[in-house]
């Protein structure tokens, strides 16, 4: 009950504890895991060193949880800017910086310049810079701003996708290119925006371009050579989807042969979307990678009768072979652009009297799913925000119960479908704290008026057809930051925000969670009560994922990128919407850093910045 001693808000939490007891949680979590009110915990091993951050989510499980605890609810009010870094690019900044040893790694949005910053010197000067020089054509082929959602460090290399459909590995010490591979043809509308996920000696990458009719895939590359090891498409015949004898979906409607072809009219699967532009998780014990697939193409459902497998779904695949183990389609025959690419957070939950290995996904369709990650069985599916396209998820079939009034038809105006295409939550990744057993997510409350237009496939142009007018949902607030109980499928608390909330989330062992808003507020919140303990207005909107690290000086820092863009631009006409920006903010208690105190602080940099277009001219 310590959980609730402090705050009145906890009345809901008391209910949860009562529910847990009533449900007869027969087994307490493993001794190593702390007791939490929901009973949920996670397996964090292996993960990044406590003071460092090597991959976007800090661990294979995608928790974004850090054991650092020097910044606490008591001193977080003294959080101040320690230093900043502006990269000069103007698209949405959606990733988290990485810290390896004394070096911080950043990659900018288009033109995807990489920087290494030396944290051991005052002001964190540039150690090296790297320009992959992508083609500007990619800017106009990317649906949702020329963004990148992250990058990864592994085996002495910084590895990331370039918007124009290449993947590159850069020597982390020198900034020299190690290998580079063309993964898709940007002229067809396929781009790459997701962060690669390193699993052992392999990395998993996927494509973007569902709005352009791209054929979605995920692929594994060798970390040291860039050689492609396997590629699995999201639609098409079983051999292309890498479905074989081991494939055992939990629900019967997803069993059969070549369903990636037969659930589409004619050859529509060839331009059927199902791109892989979100996050990858990995369970080292099961040796399975998990990732979601995006919307079916075109977005007009009348043109593709059928389930449209395997779009708007999640795959569990053998990391070595790529062969599918199971899949689950969240939104069969998706009619609203409810991609299934959001992060799958791997946690263990007490359900049905035993601990289940689960994954949690806050789907764009507005349901938060807790799914058995060994079998694909849906254990919990409850709305985590306002939606009206469906009433519930049928727990016998795993299928949503659809509201027929909200099923679009060509050339007919449908008012107030909730959520809009970008969902109750988009790609912005949530965090999980094993101390509270809760997930924390930045969500949105946006609905749409929709008219579908039939479209033809013209390579290099949108294969889309949705004419939308987006507006806030009930209550008028565009965003809400929530704490979610994944065992009982309940919101524990929420902070309504006037603007959209599209940042990643960081949870720390001192029971703080950090998130930002589209109008530029960066906040620290009490993880148990939802009380806002500290806020600062940054130069632009916050889409970046906050992270934390321990500097060479032993201090705990919090870092987050400020630079609005991406899907947040759907609200760009709102009064108060901020300008674009490109600044990484790094905070510490009192703003202290290596540069604090008296004395001259010299910059001892190893390289100059790379100045992106259109401001890359030099005065004569």
């Amino acid at each position: 009950m310590r959980w609730c001693a402090a705050a009145i808000r906890c009345s809901r939490s008391i209910t949860i504890i009562a529910l847990s007891t009533a449900a007869g949680v027969a087994q307490t979590p493993t001794p190593a895991a702390p007791f939490t009110p929901t009973g949920a915990t996670a397996n964090f091993a292996p993960n990044d060193p406590p003071g460092e951050w090597h991959r976007q989510a800090h661990d294979y499980a995608n928790t974004r949880y850090s054991t650092l605890a020097d910044i606490t609810p008591d001193n977080v009010g003294q959080l101040r800017v320690a230093w900043t870094f502006s990269d000069g690019t103007q698209y949405g900044h959606e990733g988290a910086p990485l810290v390896v040893g004394d070096t911080m790694f950043l990659v900018t949005p288009f033109p995807n310049v990489a920087y290494a910053l030396d944290l051991s010197k005052p002001g964190s000067p540039i150690k090296w810079s790297f320009a992959p020089d992508p083609t500007p054509m990619a800017i106009g082929k990317a649906c949702c701003d020329a963004v990148i959602r992250g990058w990864a460090y592994a085996n002495g290399k910084l590895i990331y996708n370039i918007l124009d459909g290449h993947t590159v590995a850069v020597d982390a010490n020198t900034g020299k290119e190690v290998w580079r591979i063309k993964m898709s043809n940007v002229a067809t509308g396929a781009t790459m925006t997701m962060p690669v996920m390193v699993v052992g000696n392999k990395l998993i990458a996927g494509n973007s371009g569902g709005e352009m009719g791209a054929h979605g895939w995920a692929a594994a590359l060798d970390v040291d050579t860039g050689k492609e090891l396997w590629r699995a498409y999201s639609t098409g015949p079983d051999d292309q989807v890498k479905i074989g004898a081991d494939f055992k979906p939990f629900y019967s409607w997803m069993r059969g042969t070549n369903l990636g072809v037969t659930t589409w009219p004619d050859d529509a699967w060839r331009h059927g979307g199902g791109t892989v532009w979100g996050w990858v998780s990995y369970d080292p014990q099961l040796n399975l990678v998990y990732y979601g697939t995006a919307n079916p193409s075109p977005r007009v459902p009348a043109q593709r009768p059928g389930l449209n497998l395997w779009t708007s779904a999640v795959f569990a695949r053998d990391a070595d072979t790529g062969m599918a183990k199971w899949a689950y389609q969240f939104t069969p025959h998706d009619q609203w652009d409810y991609d299934g690419v959001n992060e799958n957070v791997l946690i263990d939950v007490p359900i049905g009297g035993r601990m289940r290995k689960a994954l949690v996904q806050f789907n764009r369709n507005g349901f938060a799913y807790t799914i058995d990650r060994e079998t694909g069985e849906v254990l919990v599916a409850q709305p985590f925000g306002y939606l009206n396209w469906a009433s519930s998820v049928d727990m016998k079939t795993g299928q949503p119960v659809i509201n027929p009034d909200k099923e679009p038809k060509p050339n007919v105006k449908f008012e107030n479908i909730c959520p809009t295409d970008i969902g109750v939550k988009d790609w912005e990744p949530s965090a999980f704290s094993p101390r509270t057993g809760l997930l924390y997510a930045a969500t949105n409350n946006v609905c749409m008026d929709l008219i579908d237009h039939e479209v033809g496939f013209i390579a290099g142009t949108p294969y889309d057809g949705m004419e939308m007018k987006r507006h806030p949902g009930p209550g008028g607030n565009w965003g809400e930051f929530i704490a979610w109980d994944p065992v009982h499928g309940k919101k524990v608390w929420g902070i309504k925000e006037q603007f959209m909330t599209m940042s990643g989330v960081l949870a720390t062992a001192s029971d703080l969670v950090f998130y930002g808003t589209v109008d530029g507020w960066f906040r620290a919140v009490n993880a148990r009560t939802g009380d806002i303990l500290w806020s600062q207005k940054l130069g632009s909107g916050v889409l970046g994922a906050p992270m934390t690290y321990k500097g060479p000086d032993g201090r705990q820092y919090i870092a987050v990128a400020s630079g609005v863009g991406g899907a947040a631009m759907v609200s760009a006409k709102e009064p108060g919407f901020p300008p674009r920006g490109n600044t990484l903010y790094v905070f510490s208690i009192n703003g202290d850093s290596l540069a604090s105190g008296p004395g001259m602080k010299a910059t001892q940099a190893g390289a100059a910045a790379i100045i992106p277009e259109p401001a890359n001219t030099i005065p004569r």
């Binding site: 500007p136 054509m137 990619a138 800017i139 106009g140 082929k141 990317a142 649906c143 949702c144 709005e211 008219i451 237009h453 479209v455 033809g456 013209i458 290099g460 142009t461 949108p462 294969y463 889309d464 057809g465 004419e467």
Partner: protein, 177 residues
Amino acid sequence: MPQRRIFGVMAMMAIAVPAWSAPAPEGPAALVPLGDTAGSSELRLPGTLTNPFEGQPAAVTEGRRLFTKMNCAGCHNYDGSGGMGPDLTDHYWRYGGTPVAVFKTLWEGRPQGMPAWSGALPPDELWKLVTFIQSLGGMYPAPDYYGQRQGDNPHDLVAPEVAAEDAASATPPAPKP
């Protein structure tokens, strides 16, 4: 197929193609440069070409139909207000906002993902697309071709010294013998 139609467009524009230039499939618009012109009078170039379908309601309707059918709306939005691609209703034009400049953008494509439509649509259809885009209200009239390249708005005041300069340069150079 396109030959007759192209020459039809050229005749309608009544612009003389310089003798040194081979007829280009897009007509005189081929002579309009994307950038400004070094060392030469801009007025030699047919930058002020008008849209042969300008103001014709049927062309606006056809252009609107093509705007949806050819997936232009997927990037620029159904009302032209922009999305993946630029807003076509405002007055900012990266590659020029007069009819021939927009025609050339459609014909040739542009480097940031705007495809070239010369292989998919004949010039008349592209001009009808221009007519539709003109109906959105953000484009500049053809005579503003030079002024718009210099950042002028139709309602601008002009300093007298600059007005005199503009008037002098508006006199076509004498033809060379």
